[in-house]
């Protein structure tokens, strides 16, 4: 080895250990992703398992190639799969040819909408304005929604095939499971859930919880089938996966006959596109902060959009970032694209060689996995910071409740409006402190915040007869603000103070910025107008 290293002038030992590390992480990722991919497609989206598996293979590969981030892990996603199921249930029976065609059409439309977000730059930029409380509220709401949605499969009951309000479905489904559910299916689901919960308590085994849970559920299901017979237990299984190969070409359903249905699922496509982008941007933002460094969220939008335009032609569910899997990559300590690419290849190999084992996994075990993932999405550590501030708490709760009381599309719309409303509200309400006749403004002085500032200003004038407006902590002044300041200055009752005079406004101490050139910035000039 040493001689070879000497010849090639490469540290082969290091390369070999890196390769080994990457492949091990890839295998771990593949084992974690496989049950999720199957569960999302069958239990949530209502399509055969190979849709989720191809999303975990091709979706991950496309994202790895197109996204510059080293920890970005795409693939199937819970909320997106649930959106597909909710959108398509009223149009066609699940698992049918027409339904699958619409699922592909929905994915393609979502991809095209995402591409629009990439091409129209301000539209993509708007995604950065979606605040943390809105995203966390939606994630918690979707977590609860997933638990509700999996209840019938958990109880071995058929899915209800029309859309009602989620909370009512949840209540009726729970009663149905308790009263008429298949007891054997419930036992399998409970064993899966209990195994997952117990294994999760051990930090070393945490990432294997789902896999071990499914193994326990499958073993119990096989035991029941052996002792009572499958015709008596009536436990639904995933079924034949023999059709899976390297590529499974498909074409989205777009013909004249299907047009009314295609039009009716457009709101679903918008929801799908936005949910995907919200999660991708949020996950990218969080992970790049944790890893250190920066990746432009536009690049993530581009990779999601292009992947989702291609995946419908490969019988795949749409893809977006998975925070949990990205967190796993980060925790395993390897930040390399090779690990992510190898996870896709490992997964393909697993499916090709273990199709018969996967086929006997019982559906209630899959539902138990979804319930667990839904419960994990409701994380108290993420919720707690939002409840400390009243405004944030309101935004969080509104976003959370809108998922449960409205549909997912309504929730996305409410979430977007709340996010913009929240940021505007924050800007329009600067922190104003009054000491004697000194009015100190911390925040923006612009047309939106002027009414708040003016009311305080007039109170001080009435009380003191004159006022000093301290603009030391004022970040931004627009033309309307300048005109107002000029007007109050002209009234001879006001002094304007800026303790940063002759210094840089941002106060970084950078000599270059403090130079005369920087003083000629437009905002500086505006300040000098009065």
């Amino acid at each position: 080895m040493k001689s070879l290293e000497a010849v090639l002038k490469l540290p082969l030992r290091k390369h070999w250990s890196d390769l080994y590390g990457n492949l091990t992480v890839g295998l771990t990722l593949a084992l974690v992703t496989l049950p999720q991919a199957v569960a999302f497609s069958v239990t949530l989206a209502g399509v055969p398992p190979h849709f989720g598996i191809y999303a975990a293979v091709w979706g991950v590969l496309f994202c790895a190639m197109l996204n510059p981030s080293r920890v970005f892990h795409g693939g199937p996603n819970t909320a997106m799969s649930a959106t597909i199921g909710v959108t398509l249930l009223p149009t066609a029976p699940p698992f049918g040819a027409e339904y699958m065609g619409y699922a592909l059409t929905l994915g393609l439309m979502a991809g095209l909408i995402q591409l629009m977000f990439y091409l129209i730059r301000p539209l993509g930029r708007m995604l950065d304005l979606i605040s943390e409380p809105v995203i966390n509220g939606m994630i918690c709401g979707i977590g609860l929604f997933l638990i509700f949605k999996s209840l019938t499969t958990f109880g071995g009951l058929p899915l209800n095939t029309e859309v009602e309000w989620p909370l009512w479905i949840a209540w009726q489904s729970l009663l149905a499971v308790v009263e008429v559910g298949n007891v054997h299916a419930i036992e399998v689901g409970l064993i899966t859930l209990i195994t997952c919960v117990i294994v999760q308590q051990f930090d070393r085994l945490r990432n294997w919880a789902i896999l071990l849970g499914i193994a326990a559920g499958t073993l119990y299901s096989e035991y029941l089938s052996a002792t009572l017979g499958l015709h008596n237990t009536l436990i639904e299984q995933i079924g034949n996966l023999s059709s899976i190969s390297l590529v499974y070409p498909s074409v989205p359903l777009f013909n004249q006959e299907s047009m009314p249905d295609v039009i009716s699922i457009v709101p679903g496509a918008v929801t799908l596109a936005l949910l995907g982008l919200f999660q991708t941007v949020a996950a990218m933002r969080r992970m790049t902060r944790k890893v250190g460094g920066f990746t432009d969220s536009r690049k993530a939008i581009f990779s999601d959009a292009v992947s989702n335009c291609l995946l419908p032609f490969l019988s795949s569910l749409p893809t977006c970032a998975s925070f949990n899997r990205m967190w796993l990559v980060h925790k395993l300590g390897i930040h390399s694209k090779l690990a992510i690419v190898s996870s896709a290849l490992w997964l393909l190999l697993l499916v090709l060689f273990f199709a018969k084992v996967i086929a006997i996994i019982p559906m209630p075990a899959m539902a138990a996995v979804i319930i667990l993932l839904g419960a994990n999405m409701i994380n108290w550590d993420d919720i707690k910071p939002h409840l400390n501030d009243r405004r944030e708490a309101i935004v969080f709760l509104a976003s959370f409740l809108s998922v449960l009381l409205l549909d997912l599309f309504g929730a996305v719309i409410v979430g977007s409006i709340l996010a913009f409303g929240y940021s505007k509200w924050e800007q329009a309400h600067p922190n104003i402190s009054v000491r004697g006749k000194v009015l100190k403004i911390r925040g923006n002085l612009y047309y939106g915040s002027l009414p708040v500032i003016e009311s305080m200003y007039h109170r001080v004038i009435e009380r003191e007869g004159s006022a000093v407006i301290d603009l030391s902590d004022c970040y931004y002044i627009d033309r309307e603000g300048i005109r107002w300041l000029a007007a109050v200055k002209a009234a001879q009752k006001v002094d304007l103070a800026d303790r940063r005079k002759n210094e840089n406004r941002r106060g970084t101490g950078d000599s270059k910025r403090a130079s005369g050139k920087r003083r000629d910035r437009p905002d500086r000039r505006r300040r000098s107008e009065f």
Binding site: N160, E162, V178
Partner: protein, 366 residues
């Protein structure tokens, strides 16, 4: 408390919750099984109907109805004790969905009221004659929504959505829209027993799978079956007041007396919702067809097609609940209409009456 102890406590609590859930499930299943084995107390209507059709537990079934009508009958596969009880429970649910004649609504009607929002709806209101409406001579009546005839079209393609619609799913649509309620799960005993009863009716009436019968569904009345006068709200209100108001009430909110339902609501919170095919503005041919063939009770087929369409148009414009798929905002709007419209209409009517009486000469006013 240390992290390990906290983790242990949390896991134990979670496991206890899951164990409790399993305990509740097994208890509830046992309770249901006990109900399935309990002897059924029939409503008077069901006792009469099932006696007439000779429902007993035996290896072979011969329909007395068919024997009486045709003089001969072929033996069919019989019913077990379990089958008989399911058919009896199904008949009870159709006849008395609200469980007003039951000692224990939950147990005897499988909590059917849980799936219905209003207090009026009973399956028998649309599927008259406990799902098998006949005239005095025992002839099955055209467009009477017969359950037996509906069952022989067991898995039909829905003509509105083009989807294959099994009998159980069609029942779900009744629960969601016509009863403005929630759908039971397809495996629920409510649906199973109604299906058992419907299937028994088809055997008792010798109806053949896949055949079309006159009593199947509604004898729809499109606008082309009228003298092309157009549907008219004022004419509809006039005919409604003459023919329907006496039972259904002035504002069509139904009529209850001594805690018993006299006539069901055609509008207001107890009526069908805007997603139901009874809703004239959704499907304009079904309600007129129902009215013409099934109303007024005892004087069916006496209204003209135009009158039926006018009445249906009038009823269709009265306030009623929104369908679930229309979302909470529309539901709120309809709720507001149902709350504020009736007092406003009463006020308008009283003002109009007093205005008319003031304008009339004293001798005509009396």
């Amino acid at each position: 408390m240390s992290t390990t102890a906290l983790k242990l406590a949390r896991t134990t609590l979670l496991l206890l919750v899951l164990a409790g859930f399993y305990l509740v499930v097994t208890q509830q299943h046992k309770h249901r099984e006990d109900i399935r084995l309990t002897t059924v107390t029939l409503t008077p209507g069901c006792a009469e109907k099932l006696r007439r059709y000779g429902l007993v537990s035996s290896d072979r079934y011969r329909s007395p109805y068919v024997l009486q009508r045709t003089g001969s009958t072929a033996p069919l596969r019989g019913y077990s004790d379990e089958d008989v009880r399911a058919i009896q429970r199904g008949c009870n649910i159709i006849d008395d969905t609200q469980g007003k004649q039951a000692k224990d609504t939950g147990n005897e009607r499988w909590n059917a009221t849980r799936f219905i929002r209003g207090t009026h709806t009973s399956c028998d209101h649309c599927h008259q004659g406990i799902g098998d409406k006949q005239d005095g001579h025992g002839n099955r009546m055209k467009g009477s929504l017969s359950l037996g005839a509906s069952w022989v079209m067991a898995d039909m393609y829905d003509r509105f959505t083009g989807m294959l619609l099994p009998f159980e799913l069609r029942q779900m649509q009744c629960f969601i829209n016509s009863s403005n309620g929630y759908k039971p799960n397809i495996a629920d005993d409510v649906l199973r027993d109604i299906t058992a009863y419907s299937r028994f009716l088809s055997a008792a009436l010798a109806l053949k799978i896949g055949n079309h019968y006159d009593e199947q569904g509604i004898d729809e009345i499109p606008a082309s079956d009228t003298p092309k006068q157009g549907d008219d709200y004022v004419r509809g209100e006039f005919v409604y007041k003459q023919k329907c108001q006496v039972c259904h009430g002035r504002q069509a909110f139904g009529l209850e007396a001594n805690g018993q339902l006299v006539a069901p609501a055609l509008a207001g919170p107890n009526a069908w919702n805007t997603q139901s095919r009874n809703y004239f503005n959704y499907v304009s041919t079904i309600l007129p067809g129902f009215i013409c063939r099934n109303m007024p009770l005892g004087a069916e087929n006496t209204l003209s097609n135009q009158e039926c369409r006018d009445i249906a148009f009038y009823i269709g414009n009265l306030p009623r609940p929104a369908g679930d798929r229309e979302g909470p905002v529309v539901a709120l709007q309809h709720q507001a209409l149902m709350t504020f419209m009736p007092p406003l209409m009463r006020l308008t009517e009283s003002t109009r009456k007093s205005g008319v009486s003031a304008a009339l000469p004293p001798e005509r006013n009396q």
